[in-house]
Symmetry: C2
Subunit: 449 residues, 2 copies
């Protein structure tokens, strides 16, 4: 068996050259190779192209490279979690390319798998698809996405053996597993290196042939940033939001695999009981999400897509981002519940682009909106100053076309069962006149007597 | 958590309809859902499209459906391991579509992942690519392969829990893992169902949401066919063949990841010592192949690509066919050693299509010839009746274009280092005149003094 060299984080940093394409694993700070990135931040290496879901947090992980001005270009799905990345993109200091989270993961996997690229329905008909080669495959518009590769990848794993085999912990697989296949040189930062033979051959996530160097480094709570403690995860709960969450819950059936977005949808999780037979999926790589833990943080628990520590129910499983979005895109998630900025009469959804802001964070919304078998939107009926959010045609950049099945607001419930926006229910305390006055799109009324 | 229904093999068989597309996991008889297929063979279901790497063995597994005339169409990579499948294809009783093994696995994965298809360099410039959309990506010709899906998939796993999570044993992942994602209905035949919570969430190969039904069924030695016992794996060893294997071994370097084809290349495995630092890869899903076991069969050991039981060295790892060919195609296998029928002056390789026979078995040869960083061919210098096998231009269907790096025969060693066929060495006992007389291609002579 091959013995993989063990080096220090500083030695790993010296493998990176000016102008390199660098992949950095992690979803937020979970599974992010903080020690390697901080060592790189201590060098003068610059003009990097950074590929990662996020650019760490402000001054932390990839965020430290960004603060130092070492990143010239970035390819990712959610820059908005680091305010300094947003500022750098706005000022033009960093040139940013945004991809849906699942498309990013799949493009990295394709790069590692020696494929030229692939066709995906995600983002078809949105601004992300502009300039892409789009073709109809089996009647579905799909866009061509070329594979992504890097000169060097920094990944983070939980255990390695001397042969370079890697095992990730909980939701730490995320982008690491695909990135470990997609670079000319791969450095794995691991919590602990164990003797060859100690890791079960069936349980290896990254076979040793992918790994060029190992760096042993212990992760501390501070390095996990905002995911470090569950205490940081408080959210505003008012009656109206809870009511929408309760109504959304009534749409779920026993056996459903359900993905919950951030905000109101997250509240649904707390309403689901252990006997409801509902399985929660989180796109960062977990099936069988349980309730929030009472204490602890990402050192002790998996995290959900909101980067908030959660628990794992018996029968849960972990997987990487490429496999997670394969599930979503492949129609294996029964229901997605997400928030929205606008929904229109054609069941189009806009929920990622804030008016007047540059397009810097799409995350998994496009993949979920397109891939989930059934899409439930929960949102306040109107926006700031009473502006209508249910409109004849979305004015904000779209997340996906013709995808909304059920729309739940603080005033009413609508469906698109026959393709037309249909009012089917008033929320407690709401009146028909009120709904009519605050809805800009025309709709069919089919209220139960 | 969701409880997955447990049914009998007969009940599973009744889920299949006339005209269905059926995926059946397994590589040869390893990880082949024999009980489900035999139950289906006992029904009158017909006009099936069968997707699988092989069609079992004669009368066994998928081979029983074939013998019964239940299969109308088959998509696979290696029909030649079942002589009845060959006969059925020749007579026109079964309409056959042949794909390289890695392309087959990737197309199934793409089907499960909701992708329309992908571009691969494998098979470009061969008869397999005829009629395909071919484009240059980064200067490499690549062909478009549409995704594959099925109405129903029969897979075989080692353990399941009540939530449908699956764990495969050793080399039994192969096609099962991708197939479990790519069908409308998925039935998993498993050796044993264990209580929820007993399988480690990080070690789940197939998350429970993919599995619709579980069938518990114990595999016996008889059901493993020719892989049942290592005793069936005897091979002809003569001095000339051993000499070629020894010469091939000298091309390998410490740390190399090496894939060995069937025949002379297999002999190389027995010559590699534990201290050589060479890691053997077998494309059916294993890294760290050790020597043949003294006894036992596929019930006790993993199998190699020749379907022969082997041992696992410390530090080995198992993976599925899609991941295995991702490794190969992605350039992560350093050296492939394989046999050939013809090699020509342009470094083209022909080694899969037997003259006068229909094209029914390509296996992993195209993926390996295209994807391995370095290709060493071992073959007898001439064929039947002294016919030249080193020719100006291959007359047999190609495996891949311009791929051969080193050619080792019983008479000589050639390289293509500067793009030209170059004689660099005579094998012991061979003369230059003899090599000249038996080589149809012109070559440069650069023998060491």
């Amino acid at each position: 068996m091959r013995e993989v060299p063990r080096i220090t984080a500083d030695e790993a940093a010296r493998l990176v050259r000016d102008g390199d394409v660098l992949m950095a694993g992690g979803f937020g700070m979970t599974g992010h190779p903080v020690h390697l990135l901080h060592a790189l931040a201590a060098t003068g290496v610059r003009d990097l192209t950074y590929i990662g879901n996020n650019v760490g947090e402000a001054g932390l992980g990839g965020g430290r490279l960004l603060r130092n001005g070492q990143i010239a270009r970035a390819i990712g799905s959610y820059f908005t979690s680091n305010r300094e990345a947003v500022a750098a993109a706005q000022s033009g200091a960093v040139q940013v390319r945004l991809l849906p989270q699942g498309t990013l993961a799949e493009a990295i996997r394709a790069g590692g798998a020696g494929l030229g690229g692939f066709y995906t329905p995600t983002a078809a008909g949105t601004v992300i698809a502009e300039g892409s080669d789009v073709r109809d495959i089996d009647g579905v518009p799909q866009l061509f996405v070329p594979a992504l590769r890097a000169n060097i990848a920094f990944v983070r794993a939980w255990r390695a053996d001397g042969a370079g085999n890697l095992v990730y912990r909980m939701t730490e697989q995320n982008f690491n597993r695909a990135m470990a296949t997609a670079a000319d040189v791969v450095v794995a930062e691991v919590e602990r290196i164990v003797p060859v033979g100690e890791l079960a051959p069936e349980a290896i996530h990254t076979p040793g042939l992918y790994v060029d160097y190992l760096v042993e480094a212990h992760t501390t709570l501070e390095e996990l940033g905002s995911s470090g403690s569950v205490a940081a995860a408080g959210q505003r709960v008012d009656d109206a939001r809870l009511q929408m969450a309760r109504r959304a819950l009534r749409e779920l059936r026993r056996g459903d695999v359900v993905n919950l977005g951030i905000g109101i949808p997250t509240l649904v999780a707390d309403l689901i009981g252990p006997d409801d037979g509902i399985v929660l999926h989180t796109e960062n790589g977990m099936l069988g999400v349980g309730p929030s833990p009472d204490e602890g943080g990402a050192l002790d628990h998996p995290v959900n897509a909101g980067k908030i520590p959660v628990t794992a129910l018996p029968g849960s499983s972990y997987f990487d981002s490429a496999d997670s979005f394969a599930m979503i895109r492949g129609g294996h998630v029964d229901v997605a519940i997400m928030g929205a900025l606008e929904v229109d009469a054609q069941a189009n959804l806009a929920n990622w682009a804030v008016p007047g802001q540059p397009l810097l964070g799409v995350g998994g919304a496009m993949d979920l909106a397109t891939g989930a078998r059934r899409l439930i939107v929960t949102m306040t009926h109107t926006g700031t100053g009473g502006a209508a959010k249910i409109v004849p045609a979305c004015t904000l950049p779209l997340t996906a076309r013709g995808v909304v099945d059920v729309l739940i607001t603080d005033l009413a419930v609508f469906t698109f069962d026959d393709g037309r926006l249909t009012l089917v229910e008033l929320m407690p305390g709401a009146t028909l006149d009120e709904v009519r006055a605050r809805t800009a799109a025309s709709f069919v009324e089919r209220l139960a007597r």
